[in-house]
């Protein structure tokens, strides 16, 4: 398998281009939506140091989304800002589980958010992010391999943070353990997208853009199990559909509306 060093080379092969952009949208949209949900914890995290840590992680993760959108812009998919703000929900490729609201209520109303959901989701997401990045550094598309390597230099800090939370809560009170367990079961009902590469999975793997789903899943489960011994026995489900196919919930509509509110107020403003 030859490697594709430039945008021009990738564009010469339409099948390759399609698989590549599909994967990049998944990576970009995952980081984008998880950053948004993270940003909704600003000022609400359990304590002040966590507020600083979580917002720093969130800001940096949005930077990672930017890097992937930049790769898409380079490939001629549109401007970074437009890719982030203007795409309709059905064009989004993020995992539907990642768009789920942080809990009951709303940020500007009564945010009865659930820290257990956040710890479980962030831990599962960062663990998969690591597994995917380690596979993407060997990608046939060199600009993606280089970007993955850069992100991998920063991401261990994020993963270590959520692993610490997971370990602490699992060895905490019975209530904490029960809450984590309930959110884990929920993740198993909704989270198939975490390892799913969508309808173009075969092409993505055929062009050696990243490892196959079964390998990603296996490595992810192995890493998750090193921290959480009792995982739900079932296989992961897709209760709210496949985000990789553009199936999303009303929670994504809310997220995109809030995210694009300022952008939409004047799309041609110069910042």
């Amino acid at each position: 398998m030859k490697s594709f060093e430039t945008v021009e080379q990738a564009k010469q092969n339409p099948a390759y281009y399609e698989a590549l952009t599909e994967l990049l949208y998944q990576l970009a949209d995952d980081d984008f939506i998880i950053s948004f949900r993270g940003s909704e914890w600003l000022g609400l995290a359990p304590h002040i140091e966590e507020d600083v840590a979580f917002s720093s992680i969130t800001q940096n993760t949005m930077g990672h989304a930017f890097l992937y959108y930049q790769l898409l812009e380079d490939l001629g998919e549109g401007k970074v800002d437009a890719l982030a703000h203007e795409r309709a929900p059905e064009q989004r490729r993020n995992a539907s589980y990642f768009e789920k609201k942080n809990g009951e209520g709303s940020y500007y109303g009564e945010p009865w958010y659930d820290w257990a959901l956040t710890v479980v989701r962030q831990f599962l997401y960062e663990t998969m992010k690591k597994v995917k990045l380690e596979a993407a550094v060997k990608s046939s598309y060199e600009p993606l391999a280089n970007t993955a390597q850069k992100v991998l230099m920063e991401q261990p800090y994020h993963l270590a943070h959520w692993k610490m939370w997971m370990q602490q809560l699992l060895s905490s009170t019975e209530e904490a353990q029960e809450k984590i367990q309930a959110r884990l079961e929920e993740a198993w009902e909704e989270g198939k997208d975490i390892y799913d590469l969508g309808p173009k999975a075969q092409d993505i793997v055929h062009h050696q853009l990243i490892s196959g789903e079964s390998e990603l899943k296996q490595r992810w489960l192995q890493e998750v199990q090193a921290t959480i011994k009792d995982l739900p026995a079932d296989s992961l489900g897709d209760k709210f559909g496949s985000g990789r196919s553009g199936e999303h919930t009303a929670d994504l509509d809310q997220a995109l509306q809030t995210l694009a509110e300022v952008y939409d107020s004047d799309r041609y403003a110069v910042w």
């Binding site: 840590a53 060997k138 280089n146 230099m153 800090y157």
Partner: protein, 166 residues
């Protein structure tokens, strides 16, 4: 002035452009300047961002452009950030490390293994009796620590190094 002399002049002026979040530490000493190309009166500079999520990049780009264009012979300076080149904390010069300490920020530790805990000496009193308060600080590139000897809180640059995948 030949091209090499012009290049040296550019590099010298880049020593005067500080990181907006770290006054007194130049972007050159932080290892952010990757390449300087001179073509008659036009200058093209490739820079390397530190952390991906750093919001200061636009300011840095503008400040570098302004500084270089203040040179009499420069007509236009083009600044570009490349995310394809990896920055690591090893790129910080010794002078950069000294300036960081003066600013109350410890330079990153050496021999850091990704994902593992690390510690640094206090930038004020040099004591090794320090503790990590928060790995995440006021910017993506910094952490917050506390010195048990001189009782000062201080910051440190987070180590980021190449991550080898087996």
């Amino acid at each position: 002035m030949n091209d090499e002399q012009k290049r040296q002049e550019i590099l010298a002026i880049l020593k005067t452009v500080d990181d907006p979040e770290l006054p007194s530490v130049s972007v050159r000493d932080l290892g952010m300047v990757h390449d300087v190309l001179v073509n008659h009166r036009n200058v093209s500079i490739t820079m390397v961002p530190t952390f991906a999520g750093c919001p200061a990049l636009d300011f840095i780009e503008k400040n570098v452009k302004l500084a270089v264009e203040s040179l009499e012979w420069v007509e236009r300076c083009h600044v570009e950030f490349s995310f394809q080149i990896r920055w690591s904390t090893d790129a910080i010069t010794n002078e950069g490390k000294e300036q960081l300490r003066k600013h109350g920020v410890s330079p990153p530790p050496e021999n850091y293994q990704p994902g593992e805990e690390w510690s640094v000496d206090c930038p004020y009193c040099g004591s090794a009796f320090t503790s990590m308060d928060n790995v995440f600080g006021p910017t993506a590139c910094r952490s917050i620590l506390y010195c048990g000897s001189c009782k000062n809180p201080f910051e440190a640059m987070k180590p980021v190094v190449d991550y080898s995948v087996v």
